[in-house]
Symmetry: C2
DNA sequence: ACCTGAACACCGTTCAAGT
DNA sequence: ACCTGAACACCGTTCAAGT
């Protein structure tokens, strides 16, 4: 019943995660060093081993945390908008805001090299994308999808947003045109604001 | 006038690049070690320094090589197809073939951390995407774009393809549905095969 | 259970020296 | 010009030992 008895930090696992997130945010996953993280929070380099057996496990945990944060943002964006077409634009904007603000973390999340906890990462990713799926299923229920598969449309929108964020983050797409590009990308989904009606 | 006099390998730079590409292809950029590459081709670890001052410069050179290869594939796909709408599908398929077959290399190419040679990487990327731009400009010239900007459409298609490849490579999108997803994604561009006519 | 401290093999980078 | 060999600081991982 006693809350996790503090030794040095109350919760070493969370302290490691927080510091690691900060390093990834500033310098990228490639620069993440277990020894540096341990030193920064004042423990020896072998202490975090009880919580993260190796570097890969820490990276996986960071990916899960990233997907959880992303999922919250997408959920908020969906809930804050009224109906089907508006929600597509809202969730798309929220996605690009997160993916450009947390470029290094998102790059880590989508790195296709995950360890034994790969399933956990995959599950957290699916959970994060659930709001996006919900929007298209709502659109289908309202007969706005012209017979197209809501799951496939959601996957393609997701790909477009993730790809757009990647192009912006690596400098191929101009950052100051993100808004216009999102508008143009979103407009190409059935009955979104300014889609085929613009012809 | 004498061709680059061979010392140990005829061309150490190319030998390093070839070995490095092989390592990245098999194990990913994170596992790339300059010392291991040097040992594999039979020189000491400091020998490649004349060609690649540091690890970052080698990674940049690998990215340039990757974009060059990608550009060749896209160019071939465009040239092998007859007109505007068919070429979109051809270039999209070629892109996903390359990006899924060379997952590790593509991940390196789009990593947003490049060194002092960042401009060179950017220029090679632009050159690789030129065939894609050409297709949409051709479509515009034929009046098939409904007034939309060919450059923006090209960027959005590129984002969708790159995002799709990333989702497939990290396991979010099922690999056996790539064909269907490409069809669906491409169908949403003006006058592509099976686009709005399918309604 | 949680953490320390020493050890091992590996890495990127630097540099004086060879041919 | 091109390459060697030694050195330095750093890293991930392992493990016996402490409390």
């Amino acid at each position: 019943m006693t809350p996790a008895r503090p030794y040095h930090h109350g919760n070493l696992r969370q302290a490691v995660l927080d510091e690691a997130v900060a390093v990834v945010r500033e310098r990228g996953a490639a620069e993440l060093s277990l020894r540096e993280v341990a030193a920064a929070i004042g423990v020896t380099h072998a202490a975090p081993r009880r919580h993260f057996p190796g570097r890969q496990e820490l990276l996986d945990a960071l990916a899960v945390e990233g997907f959880t944060r992303l999922g919250v943002r997408l959920r908020e964006a969906v809930d804050a908008s009224p109906g089907y077409p508006a929600r597509i634009h809202a969730v798309a904007t929220a996605y690009l805001d997160f993916a450009t603000a947390e470029a290094n973390l998102v790059e880590l999340m989508f790195a296709h090299k995950h360890g034994a906890d790969g399933e956990a990462v995959g599950r957290s990713a699916e959970a994060a994308f659930a709001p996006l799926l919900q929007v298209f299923r709502q659109g289908e229920a309202e007969g706005l999808l012209a017979g197209r598969s809501p799951d496939r449309l959601a996957l393609i929108l997701l790909a477009t947003l993730q790809g757009l964020a990647g192009l912006v983050n690596c400098g191929v797409a101009p950052a100051d045109q993100v808004g216009v590009l999102v508008d143009e990308a979103v407009a190409r989904f059935p009955h979104a604001a300014g889609s085929s009606a613009a012809r």
